[in-house]
């Protein structure tokens, strides 16, 4: 049997990798992709918990569904914003877009 901790460690690993990507990629879309990775890691964790609890609850899976839904909405809007960024700055390298710099 695969213990719960394995799933959790996997989830943690995926999350960490996604975080690393979010923190370091220059391309905005790359950042969004890393973000999706993080969402997925979280989903894994939720579902694993919902399966492995002594009294299996499906709430985890429901939550995972909602996460996916919202991730989709967010991806749509986010990419629309990226397009807008591209139009204005002619670049989507996030470290070049620093109008908010002091």
């Amino acid at each position: 049997m695969v213990p719960l901790s394995h799933y959790l460690i996997l989830s943690a690993l995926l999350f960490a990798i996604g975080m690393f990507g979010a923190l370091t990629r220059r391309n905005a879309i790359g950042v969004l992709m890393a973000l999706e990775l993080m969402f997925n890691a979280v989903n894994v964790s939720f579902v694993a918990f919902s399966r492995y609890l002594p009294q299996p609850l499906l709430q985890g899976q429901i939550f995972a569904i909602f996460v996916i839904t919202v991730a989709a909405a967010e991806a749509a809007v986010g990419l629309a914003i990226v397009l807008g960024l591209y139009r204005n700055f002619k670049t989507i390298n996030v470290d070049e877009i620093n109008l908010m710099k002091w």
Binding site: P3, I65, A73, L83
Partner: protein, 168 residues
């Protein structure tokens, strides 16, 4: 090592490898492709966890929807990075450290908190049916709200992506 364990380890490795490619690839399209593989990997893990419906939803939405979206965005804003241009910003080092630290902590917490929890026996029931039942009874409100959210997102995305001053 049982079959389940072997499959688990294989899928886990696959997913982790795909995700590493996502964050480290130079070509952004390669990142998108790797992401697809990562999604598939996660879907497989869902199946292992007896969440078949979720696996299907994952593939449908993520791979079918989001990935296409991402590819379109990449296409529209394509600036394939040539050799010599950085793909990572200056905080690579610290980010690596932070991510590693975070992973370490969470792994430690998982190992300590849930050492060898074994999955209980499941009653044989349809995952889809159960989810459907929950969604429309207990969680009907979030369900409706999410639909509103989707509407808002759709409208917002359209407005944001519209050309300036045009009546698209």
């Amino acid at each position: 090592m049982t079959v389940t364990q072997g499959v688990f380890f294989f899928m886990a490795a696959f997913t982790v490898g795909a995700s590493l490619l996502v964050v480290l690839a130079r070509n952004i399209v390669h990142c998108a492709i790797a992401l697809v593989f990562a999604f598939f990997g996660v879907a497989a893990l869902f199946v292992l966890l007896d969440a078949e419906f979720l696996a299907a939803v994952q593939v449908l939405l993520y791979v079918g929807g989001i990935t296409i979206l991402l590819l379109f965005a990449i296409m529209l804003t394509s600036r394939i990075s040539a050799r010599g241009v950085k793909i990572m910003n200056e905080q690579v080092g610290i980010s690596a450290v932070v991510a590693l630290a975070l992973f370490g902590l969470m792994a430690f917490a998982s190992l300590k908190g849930f050492p060898a929890l074994v999955p209980p026996q499941l009653a044989a029931s349809s995952n889809t049916a159960s989810l459907g039942r929950l969604l429309l009874t207990t969680y009907v409100l979030p369900f409706e709200v999410v639909s509103l959210l989707l509407l808002a997102a759709m409208v917002g995305a359209i407005i944001l992506a519209r050309r300036e001053g045009g009546k698209d």
